[in-house]
Symmetry: C2
Subunit: 309 residues, 2 copies
C-alpha cells in the first residue's frame, strides 16, 4: 500500500516481473487482503501464485514517520518488516512514507553488530554501470568513524550485489588533495585510507559522478540527499532534449527501482513515492539480487572480523 499509485502500480509491477523470477522465489503481498484480492482479479492474476499478509492500516505519505509507525502497528510497513525479522521473508520492499520506512526498518531489524549507523544507498548511473552514493538521507550529521564505515559497507554492497571486483571507494569532497574539505572530510580521509579491506582511491568531487570516477562515493546523508534529488531533477530536462536516449534513460530512477538500507539485519529496499509499475518491477529484481548475494551475511562477517582484529 506504499506509494502514490496503489494498489495498481505494485500489482502491475509484480505482474510484469513474475515471469522473470526463478521457481524458488515467491512473492508475498502485504496490505488489506480484500484490496489486494480485488486488484489481483482486476489485473487477471491468480491469487494462488502469491502469499498475502494482511495489514489493515496504511501509513499516509504525509504522516509523521516515527509517530505513525508507533501508532499503526498493523500497517503494511510494520507487518512486512516483522515478517523479515521473524525470518518469514527474505526481503521487504515498499514505496511508502520514506521516513517511516527508515525509522521502522532500523527499529525493527536493528543494526548489524559492529555497524554504528545504517545508511541509505542510491545508485548513480554511468555508461551502463552503477556506482553507490552512501549515505543519501539516513544520517544528516555524521562522525568520521561512521562515514568510514559507509565506505566499507558500500564496498561490500558493490562487490556482493553488483559483482564489482575491487570497488573503488572515494570520499566526496571539494578538492583532490587529502587536506581538502570540511572538518568531517579531513578527519574521515585518514580512516578510509587506513582501512586495508577497501580500495580507497582518495577524494572525488561533484564533477566526478558523471565521469564514472568511483564505485562508491562516501558522504553524509545531508550532502547525499541533496546530490540525489539534484541529479533526479536533471532526468526530465535530459529526457525533454533527448527522448529514448539510453544514457538519458539511465537517469530514470524507475530502472533502478529502489534504494537499499544497508547495515541492518535484513534486506529492505525503499522506492520513490511516485513509483510506477516499472519501478516496482525493478525493485523486486533488486531485492532478489540482494538476497541471492547474501549481502547481510557478508556485512556481518566483515564487521565481526573487524571487531576481532
Amino acid at each position: 500500500m506504499g506509494g502514490d499509485h496503489v494498489p495498481q502500480s505494485p500489482i502491475a509491477g509484480v505482474k510484469s516481473v513474475l515471469p522473470l523470477l526463478g521457481k524458488d522465489t515467491r512473492l508475498t503481498l502485504v496490505g488489506p487482503q480484500d484490496v489486494i484480492a480485488a486488484e489481483l482479479a482486476k489485473q487477471g492474476l491468480a491469487a494462488g501464485q502469491f502469499d498475502i499478509a494482511h495489514a489493515n492500516d496504511v501509513i499516509g505519505m504525509d504522516e509523521h514517520p516515527a509517530k505513525a509507525f508507533m501508532l499503526k502497528q498493523n500497517s503494511s510497513i510494520a507487518v512486512g518488516l516483522t515478517l523479515v525479522k521473524e525470518g518469514n521473508l527474505d526481503a521487504f520492499i515498499s514505496a511508502g512514507n520514506t521516513g517511516a520506512m527508515l525509522v521502522a526498518s532500523v527499529l525493527t531489524l536493528g543494526n548489524i553488530e559492529g555497524v554504528q549507523r545504517p545508511l541509505l544507498g542510491a545508485l548513480y548511473p554511468y555508461k551502463g554501470q552503477y556506482s553507490l552514493l552512501a549515505d543519501v538521507g539516513l544520517n544528516s550529521d555524521c562522525k568520521p568513524e561512521q562515514l568510514a564505515q559507509f565506505g566499507h559497507i558500500g564496498s561490500i554492497f558493490m562487490q556482493a550485489v553488483w559483482k564489482v571486483t575491487k570497488p573503488r571507494v572515494a570520499l566526496l569532497n571539494i578538492g583532490e588533495e587529502k587536506s581538502k574539505g570540511n572538518q568531517l572530510a579531513q578527519q574521515t580521509y585518514p580512516l578510509l585510507a587506513a582501512n586495508d579491506k577497501i580500495n580507497f582511491i582518495g577524494n572525488a568531487e561533484g564533477r566526478d559522478f558523471n565521469k564514472g570516477h568511483a564505485d562508491v562515493y562516501v558522504c553524509d546523508g545531508f550532502v547525499g540527499n541533496i546530490v540525489l534529488k539534484l541529479v533526479e531533477s536533471f532526468y526530465p530536462l535530459l529526457k525533454e532534449k533527448a527522448p529514448n536516449d539510453k544514457d538519458v534513460e539511465a537517469f530514470n530512477y524507475e530502472h533502478v527501482g529502489g534504494l537499499p538500507i544497508l547495515g541492518i539485519n535484513g534486506n529492505v529496499l525503499i522506492g520513490h513515492g511516485s513509483s510506477g509499475p516499472l519501478a516496482f518491477h525493478n525493485m523486486v529484481l533488486r531485492a532478489t539480487e540482494v538476497v541471492q548475494s547474501d549481502l547481510v551475511g557478508k556485512i556481518r562477517r566483515a564487521f565481526a572480523d573487524s571487531a576481532a582484529s
Copy 2:
C-alpha cells in the same frame, strides 16, 4: 595571466567586449607588460585604449594558494587586488588559481564591517533567469550565524545586481519542514526566518534548483561546491544530446563568466581556470554590473544598519 589559456583568452575576451562598454569604463590589463603588449599587437588592439599594470610574477594553477600569494608579491593577482584596495580599480577579475584568488582577496580587501565571513557565489540558470548559490567554496565549515548572513548578503546581491525586486531566500536542506536537516540547517532556519530584511521562503531541496524555486539558496561552501561542480558536469551531457539549445546553453558557465566574492571591501570576480574568450567577455560585463550597482556600498549600509539596530 590567470587561467589555462593566457594571454590569448583574456585579451580576446577584452577585444569582443570593448565595443559594449560605456565611455566611462576603462580596462586595466594586469600582467607582464611585454607579454600583454605583444598579445594586444597580435590581436590588432591599440595599446592606448588600455592601462597596463605591470606584474612580472605569475601564480601557477597548481601552486599552494596562500604560500604562492605570500611569496609572489608582484603576481598579477597581488598587483590587481592592491589596485582595488587603493581605489585605483573598481573591480578585479581573474581566472587564475582559485584558492590564491580567494585567500588574496579576503586578506587584501578585508571583510565589510559586520560581515563574519565573505562567501563565493555562483549563478544557477533557470529559464533565462539566474539564482544565487551562496556559498560555493569559501567556507567549508560554517556556523548558523554565518549561513544566515549569506542569505542576507545574497539577497542584497540579487536585488542590487540582478534587479530582483524581493529575492526569495531559501535554505538548502533535505526536506520541506523546518525541523528537517542536519544540526547546522536546523539552527540556521530560525535565524533566516527572524531576519525581516529578507524574504525567507523556507527550505529548498536538491530538486528545486531546476524548478526556479528561489532566488538565493543558502548553504555552506562544502555542499555548495559539490552542487556547483555536479551541475557543471551536466552541461556536456546536455550539450551532447541537444547542441544549440537555449536552455542547455544556459548551463555553460562561460555565459555567466565569473563568480563574485561577496562581503569584502571591493569587487572581485573569479573565473574558471579553463575560461575561454566568451567567459572573459562576460566576466567584464558582470564586473561592470557589480560596480554600477554599488553592491559593496549596499552591503556596507545594510550591515551597518544591522549592527546599529
